[in-house]
């Protein structure tokens, strides 16, 4: 077992030693074993790599690493081979011997495992030349490729904990806070408040005992940016937290992780144990005299517990309900003591800022919006995954350059940013910059980094109804506007999608929305109307069509659509007959169009999706 590092010098010596090991000229294979790659089978692929390397006696020639998330989830399991920066996608167990034989021993590239450009079919070998990666700025996620998250020495080898040592031995807390302020870092949890200013308020707040907290209660449907960071590089978050604790004067920290993130919990627990063994966490860190301890708390799955005061109530063992923040949590937070809560991503930025300086950081991104932001790019785009982009990038660049455009050559309709209570932005806003202020201006928000792309087949009224249904369930139920208001809005939206909408409904939705924004207790309630307001603002004609013409233009709302067979196009192949779950379609013989019985049709859309001839129409 390693003895504790007792000084900055001992850490630096270890760092040098480990860094030298990186440049041994070995072939390095790094396979993504993140949460998204696992269901694609990355675990057996990784095992197969290990056994193949052992079988061929290549342990001395190959440095094999099982890492956290690489980001390009759509193509998993994925691996990078160095030298050459070769990117292989959708690797199967059977491909492994070939990869070892060809790409490791003979330095050949295997064409079938390469990424192919959607439009041209062109093969691309190097990871850093893939459109998905080359348009990103991966200052936070980039290191995931080099690190086995269960191995602290991998993190130290890449310069890990050097920022902590610098902070402890070179920088006074006030100076450190000055650096964070100067960097322009704003909270990545969504509200975008200046991190340095928050730290400063907490440092100045009265009280002997102060707390620092990591908010890892990422609850937005479809968002997993924090998960990717916690599982892939837990030490970066931990290092940021320890630095923050030192700056603020806290000796106890909490990491609040939702229990639905078992891998994040496991990797963070291992990271904490290893950091403690190395003298980087606990009493007298690196011999500096600074003590800091951390505890992990598991969240029970309530969306509202991502709200800072609800999270703190939950940490106290109480029901996760928000409270009014007229007295800020930096003054009276957890157990009424000064508490500084930041998002996972905010903490992970801290070591980078301390190492590279505030000027370096503020040059990334746009004025007033320094640095990068990680988004979970999901929905109807070709390249889904975790993307890290400089703030101020255009939505269009994320969706089309990095995301590779819309699936199946469909037409883009909207993008929702910021989770369930974010707004849906239309095509005309695709060239707006993605930053805290612009997204708010457009009626949406940054949130913690969800980005859901929708195409022409999405009905915007149905989308609004869907998100309000989620929020209705996830409201804590404490205050009247949120509990009762979201419910009433969802009922109105339900009616509209069922063809029972009235002309006055749009106005009523607007009135309830304004009320929620102005009178709710917390951000859950005040941001809940965003999906409704933006869909009314940018897609009003869809609402009107549902209400006045009783038609759903996207062909989604079941009560308003009817499926029929276009006889001229139907070759009578019978595919739809086989898949129809309600036996509503009758086979009439080859080359004769099938017959659809409206009385039996449940409008499940299966026939429409399976027909390759376009012979099923939705009206």
């Amino acid at each position: 077992m390693r003895t504790k590092l007792k000084s900055r010098k001992e850490l630096e010596e270890l760092q040098k030693k480990l860094h030298r090991k990186l440049d041994t000229g070995k072939t390095r294979i790094s396979i993504c074993n993140g949460t998204a790659c696992r269901p694609y089978g990355s675990n057996p692929v990784a095992e197969s790599f290990k056994s193949e390397i052992a079988k061929q006696g290549l342990e001395d020639k190959v440095d094999f690493k099982v890492t956290g998330c690489h980001g390009f989830c759509e193509k998993g399991p994925i691996a990078i081979i160095e030298p050459g920066n070769i990117f292989y996608q959708k690797i199967k167990v059977d491909d492994v011997p070939e990869i070892i034989q060809k790409s490791v021993l003979n330095k050949e590239v295997i064409s079938k495992l390469l990424f192919k450009e959607q439009s041209t079919g062109k093969e691309i070998t190097a990871q850093n030349e893939l459109p998905f990666y080359k348009n990103q700025t991966r200052i936070i996620l980039g290191n995931n490729l080099l690190i086995d998250p269960t191995e602290i020495e991998d993190y130290i080898a890449t310069g890990g904990y050097a920022a902590l040592a610098k902070a402890l031995f070179e920088l006074q807390p006030d100076k450190l806070i000055g650096i964070v302020k100067q960097s322009g870092l704003r909270g990545r949890g969504g509200a975008g408040f200046s991190t340095g200013t928050k730290w400063e308020s907490c440092r100045k707040a009265h009280g002997d005992i102060k707390y620092v907290i990591v908010n890892a209660d990422e609850g937005d449907p479809g968002a997993y940016a924090n998960e990717g960071l916690l599982t892939g590089n837990p030490h970066s978050v931990l290092e940021g937290l320890i630095i923050g604790a030192y700056a603020i004067g806290a000796h106890q920290g909490f990491i609040y992780v939702r229990n639905e993130y078992p891998l994040a919990l496991k990797n963070m627990t291992i990271a904490m144990e290893q950091a403690e063994k190395h003298g980087l966490l606990g009493d007298n860190i690196l011999g500096s005299g600074f003590d800091f301890h951390v505890r992990i708390n598991r969240g029970g799955g309530a969306f509202v517990c991502g709200e800072s005061t609800a999270l703190m109530a939950s940490l106290e063992g109480k029901v996760g309900e928000p409270r009014a923040k007229y007295i800020h949590t930096v003054e009276r937070g957890l157990w009424d003591r000064p508490s500084n809560l930041n998002n996972v991503e905010t903490w992970a930025n801290i070591p980078l800022i301390v190492n590279n300086g505030p000027e370096w950081f503020s040059k990334i991104g746009s004025p007033g919006n320094s640095g990068t932001k990680i988004f979970s790019l999901t929905g109807k785009v070709n390249n889904t995954g975790l993307v890290e982009v400089p703030m101020g990038i255009k939505l269009r660049d994320i969706i089309f350059s990095i995301g590779g455009g819309i699936r199946g050559n469909k037409k883009f309709k909207a993008v929702q940013t910021g989770g369930p209570s974010g707004g849906c932005l239309p095509e005309k806003l695709l060239d707006s910059p993605v930053d805290f202020d612009e997204l708010t201006k457009a009626g949406s928000m940054m949130g913690s980094g969800g980005m859901i792309v929708m195409d022409e087949d999405n009905c915007m009224v149905d989308i609004a109804r869907y998100f309000l249904t989620f929020l209705e369930e996830e409201s804590c139920g404490k205050c009247v506007p949120c509990r009762e208001g979201i419910k009433r809005m969802r009922q109105v939206l339900n009616d509209i999608t069922e063809g029972k909408g009235r002309e006055s409904d749009i106005e009523l939705l607007g009135e309830i929305s304004v009320h929620l924004k102005e009178s709710s207790l917390c951000q859950l309630g005040s941001s809940a109307p965003n999906p409704v307001l933006t869909t009314i603002q940018y897609f009003r004609s869809e609402y009107e069509s549902h209400i006045k013409n009783k038609k759903c233009p996207a062909g989604v709302c079941k009560a308003l659509i009817q499926f029929s067979i276009i006889d001229e196009k139907c070759p009578g192949c019978g595919m739809c007959v086989k898949t129809c779950p309600s036996n509503a379609i009758t086979f009439m013989g080859k080359k004769k169009p099938v017959i659809l019985d409206q009385s039996k049709c449940i409008k499940c859309r299966t026939c429409y999706d399976i027909c390759r001839m376009g012979a099923v129409s939705i009206e």
Partner: protein
């Protein structure tokens, strides 16, 4: 002596102690602000939102709940601005749709000219409870037994006994009943027994050894007697016969 703070409410200047809430200052000075979830013996909670006011500090004006907003030097408060009235009316619309047959809510809504909420009638509900949590908070903060709590979240949130069964820790004091602003807690003393129907509990009432009236639940008296270390026969007689 604590610090003095001056603030303006509806155009009039008031001086008060630091640490007070806006609602307290308004009430002490005869300014009416409606509330449902507030009680002077219980920590403010901010759930019903009816006490919202517009508060301007410096250049920033925002809507805040006066029950929870601490007074600040130079604070300017409007309790009945058009923006506040509009929001308060919507709150009452929402409450009335939830409690469409409750007299307290109907009367309060009527004060603001609301007879029918603007939502479709088929969705109106007939609750009495507005989930203000006063019963739960009184039981915890005043009585100190926490026999009930708010369970579930969102539209399913409600005050309830543990596991929706019997509130075993209840002493039958009836604080929940007395503090409930809408009459949602149903309590009855009948044939020498107190029933609190919401928590599935009933308690034998103590008979005064002198006048014979059944004056309080035995469990409650025993709780008080133990808490204050009183003699065994302390509650044999009712307060009137003592």
């Amino acid at each position: 002596m604590s610090e003095k703070v001056s603030l303006t409410i509806n155009g009039n200047k008031y001086t008060t102690q630091k640490g007070q809430y806006v609602l307290q200052v308004a009430r002490e000075n005869g300014i009416e602000i409606p509330t449902l979830c507030n009680h002077e013996a219980i920590e403010p909670y901010g759930a019903c939102r009816l006490c919202i006011v517009e508060a301007t500090h410096g250049t920033r004006t925002r809507i805040v709940t006066s029950c929870l907003y601490p007074v600040e030097e130079g604070l300017v408060v409007q309790t009945n601005s058009p923006r506040i009235i509009k929001n308060r009316k919507m709150l009452l619309n929402l409450l009335l749709a939830r409690c469409s047959e409750n007299k307290v809510i109907k009367d309060l809504a009527a004060e603001y000219g609301i007879v029918k909420p603007p939502f479709r009638e088929e969705y109106w509900e007939k609750n009495d409870c507005i989930v203000c949590g006063l019963c739960v908070r009184a039981c915890e903060q005043v009585v100190g037994v926490s026999a009930i709590s708010l369970v579930n979240r969102g539209i399913h949130k409600e005050p309830a006994p543990p596991y929706l069964k019997r509130a075993k820790a209840c002493i039958g004091c009836g604080s929940c009943f007395y503090v409930c602003p809408t009459g949602a807690v149903k309590m009855e003393d009948k044939n020498g027994v107190r029933h609190i129907y919401n928590w599935n509990v009933n308690f034998k009432l103590k008979k005064c050894s002198v006048c014979g009236i059944q004056w309080a639940p035995e469990a409650q008296l025993e709780y008080i007697r133990k808490k204050w270390d009183l003699p065994v026969d302390f509650f044999e007689t009712c307060p009137n016969c003592k």
